[in-house]
């Protein structure tokens, strides 16, 4: 069958790159000497766009610790307030209030502490005095003080930016971040012999922070560089994330650790006694949280500096080191060509919606610890701990395995031991994961039918999944297996996880032990009395974080290095020949990175889902959605048909329908999967457990909700997804509860309740807050996102500038709502951050690109008369209406048309023909910036190395243009004749030219593909 033009899609595969300037080095994990003192601080700011410093508070504490983690104590020995340098002149009344407050209050210090002399005075210092007399004096080594303190704040980048007096772009290893002048005069003059502080944001929870190397004075350039000291800058938000695996605010973190938290918030942006009390309490809460978080941290017997514990993966990697496990890439010499192949086979989890916009009864099943479970099944721990792992060519062996493997065999655990490997196929309708632009500039991964005349690499589990989904055995043209040696690494040693759970890495499977011990701890917590349950819960939570972090992510870690100049890297892609490419952000593998294992783990998880899909469909049943480790199966107590557009069955009334399995059938499926249970059945009775039950409404991948209808016509949302809503601010008024008892956001439940009811009755009124303007939060986290503010800041004093890490809010402007005469491309409204929706409409708004221009008002009334400075913005209601129709682009409807806004019912897999293969690197973790519209250049988030494979051009586009002469074609495309001739002669066109050619073909009445060449005539032997 000749493919339709719409099936030709750009496809992307990951590649392996080698940067000769960044050779892999063994990491040294040095620990600083014991740190005996801490400086904790917090700042309060104005609520205008500049968010300038008003005042702040700090505590200086002594740390005492012994071998017992509970012996880690933090004692406050000095406390003080900070005021903005310009406050006495700018606002003498507010300054006076601070002076009076400091004189009439005593510091909250422990006067009985013996090692140093606690100060009973509540200090009051200016920003400059704080920077020099406290932050530098205790936080940076100098002649009078050789042992620098740990500097602690919650969300430190924001606070450091408040107390700085200037900023420039950071260089070298912190390129892309900010270099803050903290030690300097209020006019921005930097102090000699004091360092800058560089901050590079990684994501909303993490940032690299360090003191920069001291610069030599210009007249002393002949001196060798000064010794640098990165400092001990600890963002408590990051440490808490590393320990709990969750993103916390100060308040929720205090709740999680049972520390007295914040006091009731006062009016922000004012200096009042209440505001000062509030700020001091914030610092007290931060200090208390630091103490308990560090106790928690020191329970782990690992060598890791708390200031560089950036994520649970940092803790996980430190445990591997503690067990004596050497990184795989340090032990083995792996041909980069093979790593290129396996990177091309690397895809993330599978997330799909199969039946859309059709409420159906489902039972959602969830695989217990999916990634660790497939790790245990495949023997991933042997790969991690073996003295040597060879990647050996095994094309025949793999093909034999693919030929022989059956669905039944997959329920045998020993089969999974043969899954560690990867192979190339010439895809001919095989159902495999495809990373494609299913819609313009919208890359996502869908498991679809792939057609290509070039080899495509997939892991063995993916090839097996394709076989059981299609019934067609893929033909491997080349394949490799991972073969671990029998002897383990000689350095392995036993470790006690969190000081409690002993693991012998040479004899036990780490993943199995952790998963089982977690269940054991959970069970003990449930059986314990109230007072005794907490330690078991804590252990269970820690083990969960640990197994999740070590089960997959650390093997897939790639580090993207932003840099000012390009590097020429060797790119190893799916083809056998590497090529060189200059890139601005080369990437290197993480410490424990081992792509062959990472690719197989996610492949095995997709195979599990494929097995579940086959188990359901083989009984005539169907499913609504799946997401990495779970699947919602249509099921009722007794089973039966349910009308559904595009379904494979027909009801007695002739309607298309899907078949619901009975709960007994679902239970049988679960029982069968239990054959794969690698754990102690007493602790983990099932690897496929019930997650939720009820009706489901699914829109697209990861956008679904399970609910139960009530008799009164309302619905009770059981499990909502917040995907696609995360960038929006909570529209519920800030003085009302925003979360339910189980922590779910109330407004997300409201969204789904409306989506579900509106499906039945389109007249269903929107939630009460739907008339509010849809608002997103913007944080200025990098030099790229700061660019739009350059004009704003021009010529202004530092205090009046929009500074790094400022929070702003931005509405979504209605396309028809721009004021007259403005360029929509350079019109983006921002206002100071406020989470109080009642204030949003009443605010003055500024155009980001025209800071000196007028202020604007916003309205949500699209019929409002045009007025000067009035901008119509979208409401939450508008966003909801779009949300409920968001298409599942990667699938098609029953007729084969790509899913659109109004497509409903069963979706089918699409045919994908490779239009072009893009070689890509790791996508930068800048989702927030992209959502907020602050990233204009795609290259800022995605490295595209090379584009190859022009089958689409040769087979579809050029044949359709045969009737046009080169000169005419060049004229239409806006290029010269020679370029067209070069492309026709086999040259590769630019993206722009390809699109131009495509447009010409589309404008033609018919598409005339070049006929396939006749088969060669049979010749007699």
């Amino acid at each position: 069958m000749t493919p339709h033009m719409s099936s030709y899609l750009p496809v992307a595969v990951r590649v392996w790159t080698v940067d000769p300037n960044r050779p892999r080095k063994k990491k040294r994990h040095l620990l600083s000497p014991e740190i005996r003192h801490v400086l904790v601080f917090d700042t309060e700011t104005t609520v205008d766009p500049t968010q300038r410093l008003l005042f702040g508070a700090f505590r200086y504490c002594r740390v005492d610790q012994d071998r017992d983690p509970n012996g880690f104590t933090v004692t406050t020995v000095a406390e003080g307030l900070i005021y903005a340098d310009d406050l006495p002149d700018r606002d003498p009344a507010r300054y006076r209030l601070l002076v009076d407050y400091a004189a009439s209050h005593k510091a909250h210090v422990d006067l009985l502490y013996e090692d140093v002399e606690p100060s009973w005075q509540l200090h009051l210092v200016s920003r400059t005095e704080f920077a020099r007399g406290w932050l530098f004096h205790v936080g940076y080594p100098h002649n009078q003080r050789r042992d620098p303190a740990t500097v602690v704040a919650f969300n430190m980048p924001f606070d450091l930016s408040r107390i700085s007096v200037g900023v420039s772009d950071a260089r070298d290893d912190m390129y892309g971040g900010f270099s803050l002048t903290v030690f300097g005069d209020p006019d921005g003059t930097r102090d000699a012999w004091k360092p800058r502080i560089a901050i590079k944001n990684l994501d909303s929870k993490r940032a690299l922070k360090k003191f920069r190397r001291l610069e030599r004075p210009k007249e002393r350039k002949e001196l060798p560089p000064w010794k640098s000291h990165a400092g001990h800058l600890l963002d408590l938000r990051t440490l808490v994330f590393a320990l709990t695996g969750k993103s916390h605010s100060l308040d929720t973190a205090c709740n999680a650790y049972d520390v007295p938290g914040k006091s009731a918030p006062p009016a922000f942006g004012e200096v009042t006694e209440d505001a000062i009390d509030y700020c001091r309490q914030d610092v007290a809460a931060t200090t208390g949280l630091y103490e308990v978080a560090m106790r928690d941290f020191y329970r782990h017997p690992i060598r890791l500096q708390p200031t560089i514990a950036y994520s649970p993966a940092s803790v996980g990697k430190a445990y591997l080191r503690a067990m004596g496990v050497a990184p795989r890439l340090d032990l083995d010499t792996v041909d980069p060509k093979l790593l290129g192949y396996v990177m091309a086979a690397f895809y993330g989890g599978r997330a799909e919606v199969h039946i859309r916009k059709t409420p159906l009864p489902v039972q959602q099943l969830d695989f217990t610890s999916m990634y660790p479970t497939v790790d245990v099944l495949m023997g991933a721990w042997d790969i991690v701990t073996a003295a040597k792992v060879d990647i050996v060519e095994a094309t025949g062996d793999v093909q034999e395995f693919l030929d022989s493997v059956t669905v039944d065999a997959l329920y045998c655990r020993s089969t999974w031991r043969r899954m560690l490997g990867f192979g190339a196929i010439i895809p001919d309708g095989d159902v495999v994961p495809i990373r494609a632009a299913y819609r313009e500039n919208d890359w996502s991964i869908g498991v679809n039918h792939l057609h290509s005349d070039r080899p495509s690499w997939y892991t063995i589990p993916d090839l097996v999944a394709s076989k059981i989904l299609t019934g067609k055995t893929p033909t491997a043209t080349q394949a490799y297996r991972l073969t671990p040696s029998d002897d383990p690494q000689p350095t392995l040693r036993t470790v006690r996880l969190r000081g409690q759970v002993e693991v012998d890495p040479a004899r036990e499977d780490f993943f199995a032990v952790v998963v089982q011990q977690r269940q054991a701890a959970k069970r003990e917590a449930e059986q314990a009395t109230d007072g005794d349950a907490a330690p078991h819960f804590e252990l269970a939570a820690t083990l969960k974080v640990l197994v999740n972090s070590t089960g997959y992510g650390i093997f897939a870690e790639m580090i993207r290095h932003e840099q000012a100049e390009t590097s020429r890297v060797a790119v190893h892609g799916p083809g056998p020949d590497p090529y060189e490419k200059p890139v601005g952000a080369p990437e290197t593998p993480g410490e424990c990175s081992y792509p062959p294992l990472a690719a197989c783990i996610t492949g095995a998880a997709r195979l599990m889902l494929a097995m579940l899909e086959v188990a359901v469909t083989s009984q005539g049943g169907s499913w609504v959605m799946c997401d990495t480790d779970s699947m919602a199966i249509i099921a009722t107590q007794t089973g039966g048909l349910h009308p559904c557009r595009g379904g494979d069955h027909v009801t007695s009334t002739g309607e298309a329908a899907v078949l619901a399995l009975s709960l007994a059938q679902v239970s049988d499926i679960q029982t069968r999967f239990n054959l794969l249970n690698p754990y102690d059945p007493d602790l983990i009775p099932s690897v496929l457990h019930n997650e939720a039950e009820g009706l489901i409404q699914a829109i697209s991948a990861k956008r679904y909700a399970i609910y139960r209808p009530d008799d009164d016509g309302t619905v009770q949302v059981v499990k909502p997804s917040a995907h696609g809503l995360g960038h929006l601010l909570d529209p519920i008024t800030h003085n009302r509860p925003r979360r339910k008892a189980d922590g779910r956001l109330i407004w997300v439940d409201d969204v789904w309740e409306w989506v579900i009811r509106a499906h039945e009755n389109p007249e269903t009124p929107l939630p009460g807050w739907a008339g509010l303007p849809a608002m997103a939060r913007v944080t200025i986290t990098s030099t790229t996102t700061a660019k739009p503010f350059t004009r704003w800041n021009q010529g202004k004093r530092w205090a009046d500038q929009v500074k790094p890490f400022n929070f702003l809010i931005t509405p979504t402007i209605d396309p028809a709502g721009y004021p007259e005469g403005v360029d929509p491309g350079r019109f983006r409204l921002v206002a100071p951050f406020s989470n109080d929706p009642s204030q949003w409409l009443a605010r003055d708004w500024y155009n980001l690109y025209d800071p000196a221009g007028p202020t604007y008002r916003i309205t949500t009334d699209s019929h409002a008369p045009q007025a000067c400075g009035l901008v119509t913005v979208k409401t939450y209601g508008d966003v909801l209406r779009q949300y409920q129709n968001h298409p599942e682009h990667k699938f098609a409807d029953a007729a084969g048309t790509p899913c659109g806004y109004h497509t409903a019912g069963v979706l089918r897999r699409r045919r994908v023909d490779v239009r072009r293969i893009h070689h890509i690197g790791k996508e930068a973790n800048r989702i927030d910036d992209v959502a907020a519209g602050l990233v204009a250049e795609p290259g800022d988030v995605l490295i595209t190395y090379h584009q190859t494979d022009d089958a689409y051009l040769r087979r579809v586009i050029l044949p359709a243009l045969n009737h046009l002469g080169g000169r005419e074609l060049a004229k239409h495309c806006g290029v010269d004749r020679r370029t067209i001739d070069r492309v026709r002669a086999g040259g590769s066109p630019s993206d722009r030219l390809l699109k131009a050619l495509e447009r010409i073909v589309q404008s033609a009445t018919t598409l005339k593909p070049r006929p396939d060449p006749p088969p060669p005539a049979a010749t007699e032997p």
Partner: protein, 263 residues
């Protein structure tokens, strides 16, 4: 005076040169003078000459500096210390805080402790008898300088202290004999120090332990001052009249006995 070293001695101003330039003690340059100076910084004593400091803060500096000497002696010889170092440290802090609160809050040159000064480890030191005697003499002379400033009404102290300074060896011998003949430890024999220690500990608890940052009630402060008066009474009564008499008596007998043995 504090460690027994005889080389590299210099004079230390316990209250700071700008506060009470006339009061000095001989200590070794390193580490004792360094340590005492570091403690002065930690206590916050205003040491700059160009700052206008009130008389109250100057005397407060002298009190704190004196206590630092006692503290250093106590830490250098913990086995023979009559009052443990930690208690001296807390007493010093409590006295400094109490005096600070008695003085006007907005006065010039008011000083506070500096918590950022890192703590110093103090090593123990052994004294031979001769050095011990010299130390005793120096301390008696130092006390003779301090008392007219701190307690001008205690006129009886000066001759006693000078007498102690004249014949320190015999006083040490007397103390040792009292301990030996009465079969008790030195702490036990000098029970007034128990009273002193207990009372001071109560002061520390009242002044420092009543909740950091909270306003102490006037009654607790009055109690503290009363305790200080009690200690003062105990010191005056026991040391001034009874114990020193007894010391002199035993010292005289010891001297006579030793002279006889020598003959």
């Amino acid at each position: 005076m504090t460690c027994g070293r005889r080389a590299e001695i210099e004079l230390h101003h316990p209250a700071g040169r700008s506060n009470h330039p006339e009061i000095v003690v001989p200590v070794c340059i390193r580490p004792c003078h360094d340590t005492l100076t570091r403690w002065q910084y930690a206590a916050g004593i205003e040491l700059r000459a160009d700052v206008d400091v009130t008389r109250g803060d100057k005397d407060r500096a002298l009190l704190v500096g004196t206590m630092h000497l006692l503290l250093l002696i106590s830490l250098r010889q913990p086995e023979t210390a009559l009052v443990p170092g930690w208690l001296i440290r807390l007493i010093t802090r409590a006295m400094s805080l109490l005096i600070d609160e008695q003085l006007p809050p907005g006065r010039p040159g008011r000083w506070f402790p500096d918590a950022t000064v890192p703590p110093l480890a103090v090593a123990e030191a052994r004294f031979d008898v001769e050095t011990q005697a010299e130390r005793f003499r120096e301390f008696a002379l130092f006390a003779a300088q301090v008392i007219p400033v701190m307690a001008p009404q205690r006129t009886t102290w000066a001759p006693i202290l000078h007498a102690l300074a004249d014949e320190p060896v015999w006083v040490i011998e007397a103390v040792n004999r009292i301990a030996a003949t009465e079969g008790r430890t030195r702490d036990g024999s000098l029970d007034w120090l128990r009273v002193f220690g207990t009372a001071m500990h109560r002061i520390v608890v009242v002044v420092l332990g009543t909740g950091a940052g909270e306003e102490r009630d006037q009654r607790a402060l009055d109690d503290a001052w009363q305790l200080i008066d009690s200690v003062d009474y105990v010191l005056s009564a026991h040391v001034g009249r009874i114990r020193l008499d007894r010391l002199h008596e035993v010292a005289a007998r010891s001297k006579a006995a030793l002279d006889g043995e020598a003959r």
